[in-house]
Symmetry: C2
Subunit: 205 residues, 2 copies
DNA sequence: AACTATCTGTTAACTAATTCACAATAAATT
DNA sequence: AATTTATTGTGAATTAGTTAACAGATAGTT
């Protein structure tokens, strides 16, 4: 892991990697900054700068060696160990996010899912789905430290307190609530309605 | 509509409104900038600056009158007419986003949904779900100009071309593809995996 | 009536993010 | 061998976003 990368750079590196993994690098093992930038609809200088930040250098003429680049991005942004993720709420949204995981061979692993309804405890994609009452215990036991909250906005404060107590250090929050967490916990909010209203605003001829 | 608001301000205004709508303003009709900021976990100066940008003024002691503020935010960021939105892909993710709509009385209306599988044409939450083959025709006919793409990444380029030709001016893109659109079309990308990888990076003790 | 406390509105300072622009380099071409 | 062309790596400039700071205002208090 390379320390102190800017947040947006980390996100872009993740995007570069995903894009490159689906790029035919067996046939074309090198890529230029402007080509990659074009694929991602961003500025070529951005690509070069981001790669500079992780100390990856390309060939002045051939460009960047894709296979090596994928590995170096991993060294820069992945953890050594697999991170375990809990999914809280496994309705449409929770399932959608969890499915995205399974198509992706990342260092992140769905370790447990939880839901509010008591009955019954089901399996979801080979992962056990517990009732939230067991959340604290399971998160502690399995040493889970990331969580995705994808619940209709009920009782989110209570749930947040629980999982933070149990050791969760990062939360991807799909509810429109604004979570109360200690400073040590990193929260990434995503509110679909505000994205849509933004879209509406910026497309008004 | 107030022109030239910064993108982040538009998003925050949308958040203020939603938060205020669920605030007991019948009993407490006024709110201070620091109180609203606290609820949203942001800086009070931010709230004041955003409201300044839409020309809304508060009372030096009582604060901002919530009911009026909600209306003024509407005037600032909503369109006059209802905007029609098409949902393309109505799997777990598409349904989740569409559901979020129905709990929200915004100026945005789900006008049609589309899916890849041919059979049968179903109803989803009182909205007809068509096969994508009819997309261009329906979007034109119903004068839809916003779209949410929530598909597993197949053929997204082709679909994008189709809907842009049909008149769509804004796209909320949940696929990890980077859409090829003319400059006049506004695209908002949301890639869950990169958000999660960012979370993982910034919570690595 | 003077004083205190507090909040808005706004300017200014600051920080982060993006983009420009170009030296350095080396392959390809003349 | 000289010239052209194209690309990286990076400092500098620019733009966007956030936060600090405070004048001005006014209710409440002494």
């Amino acid at each position: 892991m390379i320390e102190n990368l800017p947040p947006n750079t980390v996100e872009r590196l993740s995007n570069y990697r995903r894009k490159l993994l689906s790029y035919p690098f067996q046939e074309k093992p090198f890529i230029h900054s402007h080509r990659l930038a074009h694929l991602l609809k961003i500025n070529p200088a951005h690509v070069r700068r981001d790669l500079m930040l992780i100390g990856f250098t390309g060939d002045v003429h051939k460009g960047y060696e894709i296979e090596k680049l994928i590995i170096e991005i991993g060294k820069a942004i992945d953890c050594q160990h697999k991170r375990k993720v809990a999914f809280i709420g496994i309705g449409d949204l929770g399932r959608a996010v969890a499915e995205a995981f399974n198509h992706d061979d990342s260092k992140l692993e769905v370790a447990a899912t939880f839901r509010l309804t008591a009955e019954p405890e089901i399996q979801f994609q080979n992962v056990h789905c517990y009732n939230v009452s067991k959340m604290k215990q399971i998160i502690r036991q399995k040493k889970i430290d990331l969580a995705v909250i994808a619940l209709p906005n009920a009782d989110v404060d209570e749930i947040t307190k629980l999982i933070v107590d149990a050791g969760v250090k990062g939360i991807l929050n799909f509810t429109s609530a604004h979570l109360k967490v200690p400073e040590t916990v990193f929260v990434e909010n995503y509110d679909m309605m505000s994205k849509l209203e933004k879209l509406s605003y910026f497309t008004n001829e």
